[in-house]
Amino acid sequence: MNTILALRDIVLTLGGKRILDGLTIDFWQGHIHALIGPNGAGKSTTANLIMGLAGYRNFQGDLIYQGESIADWSIDRRARAGITLAWQEPARFEGLSVRRFIQAGAKDRGEARTREVLEDVGLDPDRYLDRAVDRTLSGGERKRIELAGILAMEPKLVLMDEPDSGIDVEALECIFGALRFFKQQGATVIMITHSLAVLRRAEHAFLICSGKVVNKGSVEKISQYFEQKCHSCDDRTPTLAELEDIRVGP
């Protein structure tokens, strides 16, 4: 297997606390990976660090993408190399149309492609293209538009932070559709989820706890986490309440 992205012994301290504590993971080219684990485990932090967001750039260890260290690269340089991130809570932009937003990062900026990606996420282009990506969109609509923008970008490595949170069943189907599209394109996906339904679409899963990988392997094996068979971590075991919280899906 080809490793597209390798996290090597990453230690990140924020506010005096070790949030990532020697995180080492290999992500395989063209595969769908899931990161799961309790609230506060460091999953979003991992995604933010891979994307290079401000506040997540000062870490020990290394981040190797296609054989090259990208630890010093800016966000946009990483994005131009094919990495992108779908936020758990996407930003809103006053006055910026859905069309402009999607086309900003699109590989093909034509109108036809823009309409197509909106249809892919189940939104009627005639109703949405000229709307602003602002507070008048519902949370679910905003997430679908985020996904449409990412589909249009045709990235090589997609980070999806809880793509399933706050969306309905129909939108969940759109996410599965997007995963199929990324797979066809040979793109690599790293998704963070608390849902068993989404986890089942992954090919590999990593259970993260207190900033470390505590278990990894097939989805079958790791999904036992959802049956409360979580391996204890060094610092803490997820509480029952946390586990109740994350036991979603069929």
Binding site: M51, F93, R100
Partner: protein, 319 residues
């Protein structure tokens, strides 16, 4: 240079194909270069008188009472040379119950040392409606001083709307001054959207006096300043009549070493009048910036797009 070629250059700088416009006999237009009117096309109900002055134009535009212009009058004015002065003295009269709109493009594509002054007086007749939109296109050098002044009287039940946009090219130095007096049941909505960079300097004064019962006004300013640019916004609303309602809104985005100041003044002299104000000054939102950068835009382009959205956004209006 022939008049035709001057006109074509003016239109080209604003991204309009003049031949499309010239073919439309139902659309009125006025074309002015420096101190000469190069073209006028009128429609029923619209009257224009203009005379050349040494350094500009004096013009009177009138819309006859009751006339309803189906399309906004297209006005294009500016200068192709890189230096010079253009002073426009303008009188606009919108007759009672008339309805008219103007879309004006003001363009100085090669400006290095240009002064453009506009001195306008407007009277919006009783029950009349007038909407004015002015878009400026300046060159990349910033060598322009723009001083537009308007004094407006809105007669009872009249509606006045004005929107000034300077987002493309460098501002240079701009000093906008709009003062509206609004009589009973009249409305004045004044808005300006300006983006400055380099050492651009922006001063905006929007004033409305709500002197009649139920008079209304919204003064909205949206500014973005970058590099070492500066912006000062002095918006003033006075209300002296019962049930007058007004809102002052100022939004400024500051990046780099730019500075922005907002001084909203509300002066209410009637217990039954109601005026509110809101001013927000801040930098571009980090999450918005990072989102666009994670799509591959560099920081400058991302800031441009965010500002384009903010400044291009629909104007706020009172219902």
């Amino acid at each position: 240079m022939s008049d035709r070629s001057l006109l074509e250059q003016l239109y080209q700088s604003i991204g309009v194909n003049p031949h499309d416009l010239w073919g439309r006999l139902d659309v009125a237009r006025i074309e002015i270069h420096a101190n000469r009117v190069l073209g006028v096309h009128l429609v029923p109900g619209l009257e224009v008188e203009a005379e050349s002055r040494a350094e500009g134009i004096a013009a009177k535009i009138a819309v006859r009472p009751g006339a309803q212009l189906a399309h906004p009058v297209q006005v294009c004015f500016g200068m192709i040379p890189d230096d010079g002065v253009q002073q426009i003295e303008l009188r606009i009269e919108i007759g009672a119950d008339a309805r008219a709109g103007v879309v004006a493009h003001c363009t100085f594509p090669n400006a290095r040392n240009i002064r453009h002054e506009m001195d306008a007086t407007l009277e919006i007749g009783p029950g009349a409606e007038y909407a004015y939109f002015e878009r400026h296109v300046h060159g990349a050098e910033g060598g322009v001083l723009v001083v537009p002044k308007s004094k407006v009287v809105v007669r009872p039940g009249g509606r006045y709307q004005t929107d000034f946009e300077l987002i493309k090219g460098r501002v240079g130095r701009i000093e906008i001054d709009v003062e509206a007096t609004v009589e009973a049941h009249g409305t004045a909505d004044v808005s300006a959207r300006v983006s400055g960079r380099g050492d651009d300097a922006i001063t905006i004064r929007e004033t409305a006096h709500l002197v009649g019962e139920h008079a209304r006004s919204a003064l909205c300013t949206s500014i973005a300043v970058r590099d070492r640019a500066s912006a000062e916004v002095f918006n003033t609303l006075t209300a002296t009549a019962p049930f007058a309602r007004g809102h002052v809104d100022c939004k400024e985005i500051v990046q780099g070493e730019a500075v922005a100041r907002a001084v909203p003044i509300v002066d209410v002299r009637h217990p039954k009048a109601h005026v509110t104000h809101e001013a927000a000054i801040g930098s571009v939102d980090a999450k918005q910036l990072e989102t666009l950068m994670s799509r591959g835009l560099n920081e400058d382009d991302a800031v441009d797009l965010i500002i384009e959205g903010l400044l291009g956004g629909k104007r706020q209006r009172l219902d």
